[in-house]
């Protein structure tokens, strides 16, 4: 199968990876528990999200790195203590919100505010596509 990424859209790439993973999961989890299957599907969802962006964003690289280390989505116990660049600053009182956002978006712990906002927008768009893909699959499968 000859895939030219430039001519195939991102949702298609995501669907391709996710459906392939689902097919594999179905074959290999016939005797597993529901929880185990659910966890694998969830991991497959985040992996296909990350793969569909082609590594252009930090969050996708962080997700794939975490998967390679076989740790899944690891919580960061230590926020990197790099000196924060103060060239970019949101309003006062936003730093708490920005810190919460840094915990939610993978790979964004050391970023300044501008990069953080960029990554967040990209992450949200991708999450929405993944959710829409999964909804379509559930609709199709449950109507079989």
């Amino acid at each position: 199968m000859d895939l030219e990424h430039s001519s195939i859209s991102k949702p298609m790439i995501m669907a391709f990876h996710f459906l392939g993973a689902l097919s594999h999961i179905q074959k290999t989890t016939t005797h597993s528990t529901f929880v185990c299957r659910c966890h694998r599907i969830r991991c497959a969802a985040y992996t296909s999200m990350a793969l569909s962006t082609g590594g252009h964003s930090a969050w996708s690289r962080a997700l794939l790195r975490g998967k390679l280390r076989r740790g899944g989505l690891r919580k960061r116990a230590v926020i990197l203590q790099r000196p924060r660049k103060r060239a970019v600053r949101l309003e006062e009182g936003c730093q708490d919100g920005a810190d919460v956002l840094r915990r939610l978006v993978p790979g964004s712990a050391g970023m300044d505010s501008a990069e953080l906002l960029d990554e967040t927008a990209d992450y949200i768009r991708c999450l929405e596509e993944q959710v829409s893909l999964m909804r379509s699959i559930v609709n199709v499968v449950s109507s079989l």
């Binding site: 298609m12 669907a15 459906l19 689902l22 097919s23 999961i25 179905q26 989890t29 529901f34 299957r37 659910c38 966890h39 599907i41 969830r42 969802a45 985040y46 252009h56 964003s57 930090a58 660049k85 060239a87 970019v88 949101l90 309003e91 009182g93 936003c94 708490d96 919100g97 920005a98 919460v100 956002l101 939610l104 978006v105 300044d112 505010s113 501008a114 990069e115 906002l117 960029d118 967040t120 927008a121 992450y123 949200i124 768009r125 999450l127 929405e128 993944q130 959710v131 893909l133 999964m134 909804r135 379509s136 699959i137 559930v138 199709v140 499968v141 449950s142 079989l144």
Partner: protein, 85 residues
């Protein structure tokens, strides 16, 4: 994605914040020009959490549905349907 932006202006931050606001579901209904930054960040965080919860929920439903599927032909049908829609 290099950090060679130099000095970021307030205007650029404002644009980034506005484009983030445009992604949030509530702002599509409202027509306010700009909420305060901290409120916007809170809404963003709760929106991300709700999307992640939905991924978890849909994973659960898929896991349930998969346990009732056992043959190979439905999968081919699924793949065809997805690419048609």
């Amino acid at each position: 994605m290099s950090s060679q932006r130099g000095r970021i202006t307030d205007k650029e931050i404002h644009e980034l914040v506005s484009s983030l606001q445009a992604l949030l579901p509530e702002s599509r209904r409202r027509s306010t020009s700009r909420a305060s930054s901290s409120k916007l960040l809170k809404e963003t965080c709760s929106y991300i959490r709700s999307l992640q919860r939905e991924v978890d929920d849909l994973s659960g439903r898929l896991a349930e549905l998969m346990s009732t599927m056992d043959s190979d032909s439905p999968q081919a049908e699924i793949i065809r349907s997805i690419f048609r829609s």
